[in-house]
């Protein structure tokens, strides 16, 4: 087991190394470099004329004249040693300051979404598998088709609309006005959770639809296996047969795709956040891409990917704990 853990941990670091190179390439892709954009933003409209030599000096100041690999090393070195993600020119501060607590909110939203996804999809999927070809099962199939077909941001818009129309409240944002400036308290926390519920529902929507189908299919396969009949032949009560035997194996594919779910949620997050005006990383990512604030964009991309890679690791470990066949092979 220890060997398994070390192996996966090393794999995680190697993956992150390659991902960081990819992110760096993306940061370098947009035309012009940081100095151009810095100069343009700083001085455009001020009447000051910027000469080529001014830009050159900015370039020197940020070390942009050095070769790409050196710049990569400086960038990644800063992140690894000082947790410094570089400057943000759009906000005229560091990327760290811009990202700040948004990262925490993102993780809270992510965990809430995952929890909601699994709490919904696993029991419902098992139920559907137990009642195959019943009206409820057909209904669920239709709902999950819709879940895959309705883009999350559309659902967000619909919910926003319903909220305004029937409840007279805005569902967007993360805090009610009275808590926006207030210090942290239980009231504020509860308020945050209330506001996170709708985004979590929106983000969990398609992930739930997908996982529901997976759980249902796996559960159907497992139910047909001999060991289920064997457990029945042992005289166990039906609920125990179902929960202890096939249900336990039906969640394996769910566990093994946690990373995939996180990837999916992060894919949808920016757009949902934009529609629902949530101040977290996704929305910031769009802004920074539109502004070409590439250090911030790179930092966010790297963070999101790091969370995915970590969740992949978690999924590997949980899977090994759940299934002795994987554990004993030594991975």
């Amino acid at each position: 087991m220890l060997r398994f853990l070390i192996q996966r941990a090393v794999g995680m670091v190697v993956t992150m190394f390659f991902v960081s190179i990819m992110v760096f390439v993306i940061m370098e892709l947009p035309p012009g470099d940081y100095a151009d954009r810095y100069a343009f933003r700083k001085f455009s409209g001020t009447g000051v004329s910027v000469t080529e030599s001014d830009i050159e000096s900015i370039r020197k100041r940020f070390g942009l004249d050095r070769p790409a690999w050196e710049r990569y090393l400086t960038w990644i070195g800063g992140i690894v040693t000082r947790f410094d993600f570089g400057p943000s020119f759009a906000f005229e501060t560091s990327a760290n300051a811009v990202i700040g607590q948004r990262a925490g909110l993102t993780v809270v939203l992510l965990l809430g979404t995952l929890l909601l996804t699994y709490l919904l999809s696993i029991p419902i999927g098992i139920y559907a598998a137990l009642h195959r070809q019943s009206p409820a099962d057909y209904g669920l199939t239709v709902v999950s088709y819709l879940g895959l077909a309705i883009p999350n941001f559309m659902l967000a818009l619909i919910l926003l609309y319903l909220g305004v129309r029937y409840f007279g409240t805005t569902v967007g944002g993360l805090f009610s006005p009275e808590y926006t400036q207030a210090p942290w308290s239980w009231g504020k926390f509860a308020d945050l959770l209330r506001h996170l519920l709708v985004p979590a529902v929106v983000l969990a929507w398609s992930a739930t639809a997908l996982q529901l189908q997976t759980v249902r299919a796996t559960m159907s396969d497992e139910l047909a296996k001999l060991y289920v009949d064997a457990a029945r032949a042992r005289g166990l009560p039906e609920w125990k047969v179902i929960l202890k035997y096939p249900a336990r194996l039906a969640i394996n594919p769910v566990v093994s795709t946690i990373g995939f779910d996180v990837n999916r949620i992060f894919s949808e997050l920016p757009i949902v956040a934009l529609v629902m005006s949530l101040p977290e990383l996704g929305e910031l990512l769009i802004k920074s891409f539109l502004d070409l604030d590439m250090y911030v964009a790179g930092a966010i991309l790297l963070m999101l990917t790091a969370i995915i890679v970590f969740m992949n690791f978690v999924s590997d470990v949980v899977l090994a704990l759940l299934d002795p066949r994987i554990r004993l092979e030594g991975g």
Binding site: L236, L249, R325
Partner: protein, 345 residues
């Protein structure tokens, strides 16, 4: 049916149908048989003959689309009295007490009948604890978790597993096929059932291990005094283990009697075909003669005698029109074939 006063299990007129997309499938049609305490009845037939369905009906382990006919009776005689399993409410406490308690069952695939994610011990102890009351009556002692574990280890040792204390905490995939089947037998017998149903328990094993397992089962049967209902498609296995045999074809019993007599002098053409398909020392140089043709789809049951489509001795105009009735050959043997004058009674 002859009187079976002493029978442990008495099945009368059992019929099982399945509702499928293509229509009703009649898998078992009017089967009657009896198993006596401490003795073994073998049921033999090709796949699709309904032998598995018939035995699964005994512990009501049929899929949801299956229905047992209203007139069927599955009587089990226990010390506490007689019950008709066919009429027990599905999923009820009574039925659960029977399954794994009075009636144990072992399956064809030793790999697939254990869940891969729990240890052998976990699944054995679970069975023992589920039948605490039953064991209390049989052995006069009450098991707690630790005692159940000790009992499980003893059972594993009893079925010839070395290092049982270690093996009990292993997962099924860490054991070989033969060992897994031994563990399955240990599990089924750990509750001391009065009847063991064995559904082709040796088919998936290679021949040497097959022989070992059969010997073990015979030995345990003698020791525990239980009755066995043994299903196989292999006449050779039947010859070794069963005192009596019932040959099934397309959901009906076509011939029955003491094993030795049936093998020495098979009456039904189908039984003859099955025996001819058996490899023998003196015929090993010749080609085996399997029963020609395929078993018909149960959706298209032939009219008349179910076997007439493959029968080398069919009588046109009779066999394809009328269902042959059970004809007694002597006190213990009967056959359902027009060759023996079996007109519908």
């Amino acid at each position: 049916m002859t009187a079976n006063g002493g029978a442990l299990l008495e099945i009368t007129d059992l019929g099982v149908s399945f509702t499928t997309d293509e229509g009703m499938v009649r898998a078992v049609d009017g089967v009657s048989l009896a198993v006596h305490p401490g003795r073994t009845l073998g049921i033999v037939g090709e796949s699709g003959s309904g032998k598995s369905v018939a035995t699964k009906a005994v512990i009501r382990l049929l899929p949801a689309n299956a229905r047992i006919d209203g007139g069927s009776r599955i009587l089990l005689r226990r010390a506490e009295g007689e019950i008709d399993i066919a009429r027990l409410p599905a999923g009820g406490r009574e039925l659960r007490r029977l399954r794994g308690g009075d009636i144990g069952m072992i399956f064809q695939e030793p790999m697939a009948s254990f869940s891969p994610v729990y240890t052998i011990g976990n699944q054995m102890i679970e069975a023992i604890l589920a039948h605490r009351d039953h064991l209390d009556r049989r052995l006069g002692r009450r098991f707690d978790r630790r005692a159940a574990r000790d009992h499980a280890i003893r059972m594993l040792e009893r079925v010839g597993m070395s290092n049982a204390r270690l093996r009990i905490d292993q997962y099924p995939h860490e054991l070989s096929g033969g060992m897994r089947q031994r563990a399955m037998i240990a599990l089924a017998l750990s509750t001391h059932p009065s009847l063991l149903i064995a559904d082709e328990p040796t088919t998936a094993l290679d021949v040497t291990i097959q022989a070992q397992i059969l010997d073990l089962m015979l030995e345990l049967q003698r020791e525990l005094g239980m009755a066995m209902l043994f299903i196989t498609h292999d006449m050779g296995v039947i010859a070794r283990i069963a005192e009596e045999v019932a040959v099934m074809y397309l959901g009906r019993i076509v011939e029955r009697g003491p094993t030795r007599e049936v093998i020495r002098d098979p009456a039904h053409p189908y039984t003859r075909g099955l025996l001819a398909a058996l490899p023998r020392v003196e015929t090993s140089r010749r080609r085996l003669t399997p029963v020609p043709g395929d078993i018909p789809s149960p959706l298209q049951r032939p009219a008349g005698c179910p076997f007439h489509t493959r029968c080398p001795r069919r009588m046109p105009g009779l066999c394809d029109r009328e269902v042959p009735a059970d004809t007694a050959l002597d006190a213990r043997r009967s056959v359902a074939c027009h060759l023996f004058g079996g007109r519908a009674s």
